[in-house]
Every structure is written in C-alpha cells, then in structure tokens.
Amino acid sequence: MKQFAVIGKDINRNDAEAKARGQALYTDDLKLPGMLYGSILRSPLAHARIAHIDVSRASALNGVRCVVTGEDIPKVKYGNWRLFPDTQDEYALAVEKVRFIGDEVAAVAATDRDTAQEALSLIRVEYKELPAVFDVEAASQPGAPVLHDYCPSNVSVNRKIQYGDIEKGFAESDYIREDEFNVHAVSHAYLEPCSALAQLDQDGRITLWSSTQVPYIVQCLLASTLGMRENDIRVIKPFVGGGFGGKMELRTWEFCAAFMARKTGRPVKFTLSREEEFLTGRRRHPMKIRSRVGFKKDGTLVAKDLRIKLDGGAYNAMGPTATFLCGNFGAMLYRYPNYRFHGEHVYTNKPPASAMRGFGAPQSLYATETQMNIAAQELGMDPVELRLKNAQVSGDKIPDVATISSCGFIDSIKKVAQMSNWKKKRKSLKPGQGLGIGCYSFISGGVFNWFNTTYPFSAAEIRAFADGTVHLLTMTADIGQGSDTALKQILAEELGLRMEDIRITSGDTAMTPQADLGSWGSRVTLMGGNAVLDAARKIKAQLFGAVSARFNMNVIYELECKGGRVQAKGRPDKGVSFGEAVAMVQRANRGEPIVARGSYTPRDKGLVTPAFGFGAQVAEVEVDQETGIVQVKKMWTAHDCGTVINPKGVEGQLCGSIQMGLGYALCEQFVMDGGKTLNTNFLDYKMATAVDMPPGDVAHVETYEPEGPMGAKECGEGLASPTAPAISDAVFNATGYRCTDLPITPEKILKGMKRGFI
C-alpha cells in the first residue's frame, strides 16, 4: 500500500474552527443594504386550475415592493434533465394549474418579514378544484386524473434493463421467491432551511447566494428561466447546513429572488420556514417494488426480475435519475446471470420526491437485502454464507450497467461477521433480541450526462506562488460533507505541501473554473479529486522542468514534490523549496504566474459510474415484546471506500448515515392524508436524538481504486442503504415479524407477532 503524508490522516476540517466559533455564515445570515424579504404563497389544494389571482390588495400594502405570479414570469420550464427537454416540467410559479399542496403560486417581496407575511394573506386565488390522485397504481390506470398534459399516462419515465435469459433463468431455478415491498417517503431534514439572496449587480447582472448543492446547475437554469446568458448569472454558495440531495435543483425561491431583484433593483432574500420544508419539501421516493428471485438449491442466484413504480409526486425533479439508478442498484451486490428491470416514474398529486442520500439505492436494496435474508432462511442457509456465495467481485461485468473495478465486498461481509461475532451471537440470543445483516453498493458519481453540460464534469485551477503556497479554485460545493478538506488533502499530498499552505475558493460560478456538476451521487471526491490531481500534475511538470534545469539533472532522474520541496527522488540535495521552484518558473516566464487547469470527465466508464463503494452492516436490536419498541443496541460496519482520505471524516459520514438509516427503518416517515403532509415539524417528524443513537464499531476495508484520486472512491452515501435491512432482519430475528412495508413501527411489529411467523 502506498505511503501517504496527508492522506489517511485525521486532519481537522478546513472550516471546523469557523463553525465552532459560530462565525460561519449561511445564506440567511447575509444581509444587504435595502434588502427585501420574500415570501411564497402556496397552493392549499392538491390539484386545481387557477381561475384567477387578485394581488391588488397585497400590492397596495405599505412596504410591499413586488408581487409576482405565474403570469408575470417568462414561460420557461426547467428541470435537471436538460438532455431530455420533455422531462423539464416545472415553472418557478404555477402557470394555470397547481399540482400539489404547497405548489408555489405567488411570491411577494417587502421591506420586512411581517409585511411579506401579511401581504400573502391579502392575495386572493380562485381555484377550480380538479380530481387528484395520490397512489402510483391509481395514477397509472387509464382514466386517472392527468397531472401534465404532455404526459397523459402519468408515467413520465420508463427505464428497462435486461440481460441473460430471464425465463430460462427461472426455469432453471430450484427456489423462487417473489415479494412486494412498499417503501416510504422520508425527509432530508437538513438543519438549515433553504434560503436564497439575489442582488442586481451594477451592470444588470445577477449575483445569487444560495443554500445549494449545485451552484453550476442553478446558474444555468436560472439563466434560461430569466432569459439571460449563463455568464450574466453568478451563483455563490456560502456555508450550507446540509443537503443530502434536497438542495440539488433550481428552486422557486432562487428564481423569485433573482427575478424580483431585477424587477425592484433591490436585493431580495427568501428563507423557508421549517413548516414549508416539511409540508412541501422534496423527499425520498416512495416505491412499490415487486421482486422475483430464483436460486439453485445450493443458494446460487440464477435470475432476478424487478419491477418498480416510483411515486414521483407532482414533478419529475430528480426522479428520472432515481428511476435509472434503482434498476442499476437492483443488479448490484450479487451476480445475477439473468436480470430484468422495469422502472416507471409516476406522477401523483403529492410534493415531488427527488434525490436523497442513496438516490434509489435505499429503496432498491431494501428489497434486495430483505429478500436475501428471507431466501437464506428458507434455503436453510446462513445469510452471511448466502451472500458470500453470490457476492460480486472485482472485474465482474454487469451488461449495460457497469464493470466493477475495486471491490472489497467479500472482505467487508467477512469482516462485519467477525466484528459482530455473528455466528456465535445469532445462536445465543434471548427472546426479543435479534441480529441482522444488510449490505450495500454505491456509485462514485454518475457518468451519464443528463444535465447536458458542455464543460468537464469537474474542474480545478491551481495557482502556485513563490511564497510556497497555492490557491485551489473549484466549483465543487462543500455542503457539510467536508469536500473542501478532502480536496485540499489530495492537493497537499500531490504537491508535498501542508494543509495550511493551501487556500481554497469553492462554489462560486464566476470565480472558479467551469464547471462542476455539484455535490450529489458521491461524485466530488473522485471527480473533483481527479480534476485537482490533473491540475496539480501540470504544476508539477513545470516545477520539475525548472528544477531539472537548475541542477543539470540526468534525464533518468525521477522528481518529486515532498515535504515542501521539489527534488530528485532519493537525492534531496538536488532540489529547492516549493516556493523557490515556483519563483524559478515564474522568472523563466518573465513574471507570468503559474496557473494550471485540470479537469475530469468520465469516459468509457459504462453507463453508471467509474467506481463502486461496498460494505456490510450488522445491527443488534432488542424488541420490547409488549410494546413493539425497538432499541438498536449496536451497529457494526465494515466498508470499502477505497483509500480513506480522512478517517474522522469518513467515520462522521458513517455515523450520520446510521442516524438517517435508523430513522428510515424505524421512526421517520411523512404521514400523509391524501396529498397533505400531516407531520410538519420536528416533534412529529421523528428523527433520532442523541439518546436514541446506538454505539457502533467501524472497520475500513481498504482497497485501492485505480480510477479514484489516491485510490479513493465513494463513502457515506452508500451507507444510507444497509441500516434499514439490517435492522429489519434483526427485528425478524427477534420477533418473527418480517417487514415488507417500511417503516417498522411498533404497531406493525405487535400485529406481526400476533399473526405469527411468515
């Protein structure tokens, strides 16, 4: 294994001190002179035609500077799937129709928040209510209410994958299992509510500060919806208080802030309330999953037939990607010689679902993993053994999906079984106690160019200075996951510098190189990291040339950047400090500063991703058999994220994903009454508090990913998937209740126990 100086070390986060001092500024902390406060009027109905909107009383209210409705804005639809304009189905403010409770109808900007609120109450909207549909089955029946005229079937995306001979596969199977799983919607529940502040620059251009994961996407879509050129829009990402997939599209308030700033000439800020976030916010796709798997008697997998209907809510949002990915994930983890997938993304009159940590994997893998556990039980095999028998390994090809490069899956399964004392513990459990397993695989960024970017997927610029420092500029968006720190570590390692020698500017579309697709799909470490390496190597080439000339070196010498020096390998005397080397190059170029651009775009990497992360998790639970309350006693995790760049950072991602996975399994859910979200606060949206969190043990099963920077790949997002199936299996182990419709509530457990074993 390669020896590193900075990689693999517990380096403090770049921004931790500012955050611990309370000095880190988020969008809502920003205030500009003359700034107006925006507020959004939302639809109280799930499906209705807008007959008439009267804003006259609101406009006349003292302090109100601007009121806009769908009639006032350019009729340009947007959506992230620019490659397929048909999928772009959203206006910033409703035009003619509203399609879910919370759909944005009008916006006001006023001199203070109270006035903005009051103005909303003065807008009169006449609706003609339409029949609404809330269920994917009903919505995809002929004659169902149609949400979008362009899509009379309500099925907006169809994705099919097929390889091998599925019929033959089942015919050859000794054991076939078919189940239906229903998985539910959950919230990103990032702590920082969405916020955007726009300013009209003196030259008529727009600067937007926004709590976003995707500055570049926001820049482009804002330009098209405003009818401006991309370069007329500057998007700056201040500190962001978490995203988890919920802040990765252009959203109404970003558009309205910019549109109204242009109209009024004054800065306009919108910040959502928590109630708005819960009532109308994006969420993880609920899915109806039918999965049929066939095995040989000895447990060898032969075939899988997977049908998924995604409940997309009222707009596509990131649904098309989720539809593609849940089919791809269905083919992951195990070797299915014959595989068929059909995914349908269905419109319903509910708040739109979109990307959320795992992006289709938590749903798809809940089915995969639960079914593996059922099969193990029915085949009389240990779930660990059944997995080891079928696990994917490095070099495996999945037709039309991917080729697996580095893969520590088998080692992860073995490791987690050993850590949890699986074999012995499973046998020595008391009634009410259970041990269960779940596994995952996840992408390190996507290779599919749905946004139709004309730039590299990731880019970096490095400026080197004679004082021995460098400046890294990148459009990547640190939203709390720590990507700035990871990228700095990669750069420090490559240039032999210390962390404090590197200045970083990130997430500013006017100042950082074009482009970066943003923080989603665990893409930043691999793609942003590769772009940084690319630029760093160009810097090194220049420095090496100068140092080689200076010492009149034989051409066979290898040079290196190490310990703040540029030198011949093994001959530190033939070398100079990093700063001196920079000065030499600069002098040779008559003062021109050293600047290098690097980029990364995945090419010839299949359809999905350049590299997969893998891992396995074991949960130990204790179920109160009278109340059905599940206490998760401990979690063990073994995972392969390639090279661990920052152990503390990786472990932090992992603990966070357990909190989210535990919520997905047990207590988090949107309780809906038709199209209305009933639990719109943190009291009733039950995410785990500090007293609810189990302790855990972690093992990093390190592999070296050839496509990743310094051998690194995805971490932390894939781990959103194994927790729910592991807990579910443990609950089954403890009570005999096997959950096929998440979440596993105490009530379902008690009912299941009364019914007896399935």
Binding site: R113, D114, Q117, S273, R274, E275, E626, T627, I629, L666, C667, V671, D673, L678, N679, F682, L683, D684, K686, A688, T689, A690, V691, D692, T745, P746, E747, L750
Partner: protein
C-alpha cells in the same frame, strides 16, 4: 417564524397580575414558559392582543413543604422539579413526569402551571398530579378557588380557567406511608417526544404486605383530557396486590380509555399500550409502596 404582534406586560405580584388580566379581558393570555403558547401563536392558532408574563411574580415560583404536604408555585420550572431531591423522594411519579418532558431545553423554559393550563391531552404533568390527588388554585381579581386537578380539564386546550383567571399554585397532600406511585411516558423516541400514551398509578397499602386501601390511575393521550381509570381503580381497592390483580386492573383500564386514531398512532395500539403501561406503573408503584 414570526410571532403575531401583541402588547407585553409583566406584573411583579399576583394581585397585580389578576387586576391586569381583569382589565385586559378576553384578549389577554398569561405567559409562563412559552413552550406551548408561543408555538401556537407562531402557528397563528391564537392571536392574543396582550400577553401577561408571570415570571416576575416571586410568589409563584417556589416549592413549599409543611406538615400536610406540598405547595408548588405554578411558575415552578420543569427542570427544577425534575432536579428536586425532595420531589424525587416524596413525589417520584411527578419527578418522572418532569424528567421526561420534552428535552432539557424545553424543561428549562416550561413550567408546571403552563403544562397544566395548556391542557394538552398528552401533557406530562397532569397524570402524576391526578394520582397524587393534587388540587390547583385559580386566582381572579379579589378571590381565588381551589379545585381538584382532574376536574380542571374540559377538552383539548380547554379548561375551567375563566377569562382573567390565573393558575397560581398546585397543592399536594403528603402521600401516606406504604404508598407509592409511578409514571411512564410512552413514545417512539427517548427525547423530544410527545406521549403516544402515558400512565400514572398510585397505590396505598394497609401495611407493606397488606391490601390496597386506595388506588388512583390516570391516563394521558387516550382521550380529549387526561382520564382517571376508575374501573381499574375499583378492581384494585380492597385486594392484595398480585400479578393477576394488576393484569385485571390493566384490562379494566383499557375500557376506561377513549383513544382515537390519529397520525401518531391507532386507537387499537393505544389501547394495547394502556394495558402495558397500567400494569408496569402499578408494579413500580407497588415496589415503592412496600419499600
């Protein structure tokens, strides 16, 4: 989130507060910890024109003990109640109720009077207070009245409190020897939780091994108001404590409960939990009684 506009008052004495409430009339609301009132105001559920803050009234902030029992000022803080060794020793069910209320941050703001007067069916103070037979003092300009706490609640958010009236004091008789009580708050999370069901039980024994002479059971979140489980109490009185007796009492408590289906849980599950909690609180109460 913004509060609607109102005028703020902070009287320094109870009599002053009563006079002010009388003068301001229907549009005035007393403010204690604010963890219910301000939330409801932010959600625009209520819009009082005047808010009368009770926190500067020294008379209602302390715990007093005399030969007969205890008097708790209505502005006593929940964190202080949870942290009081005296309450933990003498009124452990109340201590349990306070310790499980919301979160440390809620407990540092919330008061016992506020928790009672807001009359939420799932509130944590009423069930333990009901089983201790607490009475509450309501003050109006020039007069006061004392009523049993269980008579106080008339519906969700509704009480006997008249316009201009202030809850000032909670009076609890010293529990007799060989008595014990317990409270269990039941929810999905272990903090920041609103009870799905809660139960408090009190029993008094003739002697450590003797029959039950008095029993009180109160249930939260299974009706429009916190309820006494009177048929369950009837099962217990005059009998010697036993597992089967407690089981029968727990079954009876289920018939006393009037739960509804709502988004937090079904009526059926709540009934199941009434049974479990009643039995568990009785077992814990017995342990304390025979100690």
């Amino acid at each position: 989130m913004l509060l609607p506009k109102f005028e703020y008052h902070e009287p320094g004495r109870l009599s002053e507060a009563c006079a002010l409430m009388a003068e301001l009339g229907e549009g005035a609301r007393p403010l204690a910890g604010g963890t219910d009132l301000l939330v409801n105001m932010k959600k625009n559920l209520i819009k009082p024109r005047h808010v009368v803050y009770l926190g500067r009234i020294k008379e209602i902030t302390s715990l007093k003990q005399d030969s007969k029992g205890f008097s708790l000022g209505s502005f006593m803080n929940i964190a202080d109640i949870a942290g009081s060794p005296l309450i933990s020793d003498k009124l452990p069910a109340l201590s349990e109720g306070a310790a499980g209320l919301g979160s440390p941050l809620v407990r540092n703001l919330a008061t016992i009077g506020g928790n009672i007067a807001s009359a939420r069916p799932a509130a944590d103070m009423p069930p333990p207070l009901m089983v201790y037979g607490a009475r509450i003092k309501l003050n109006r300009k020039g007069r006061s009245r004392l009523i049993a706490i269980e008579e106080f609640f008339t519906g969700p958010g509704k009480t006997l409190l008249k316009a201009g009236e202030i809850l000032s004091e909670i009076i609890i008789d010293e529990p007799p020897v060989f008595s014990g009580a317990s409270y269990i708050k039941f929810g999905m999370r272990r903090a920041l939780e609103i009870s799905l069901v809660s139960a408090a039980s009190f029993i008094s024994l003739e002697s450590p091994e003797g029959i039950i002479t008095k029993a009180r059971i109160a249930l939260g979140a299974v009706g429009p108001v916190p309820l006494r489980a009177r048929s369950a109490e009837a099962v217990l009185v005059g009998e010697k404590p036993s597992a089967s007796l407690f089981e029968r009492a727990a079954d009876a408590a289920v018939t006393d409960a009037r739960p509804i289906d709502d988004f937090r849980g079904s009526a059926e599950y709540r009934r199941d939990m009434v049974k479990v909690l009643t039995r568990r609180t009785l077992e814990a109460a017995l342990k304390r009684a025979s100690h």
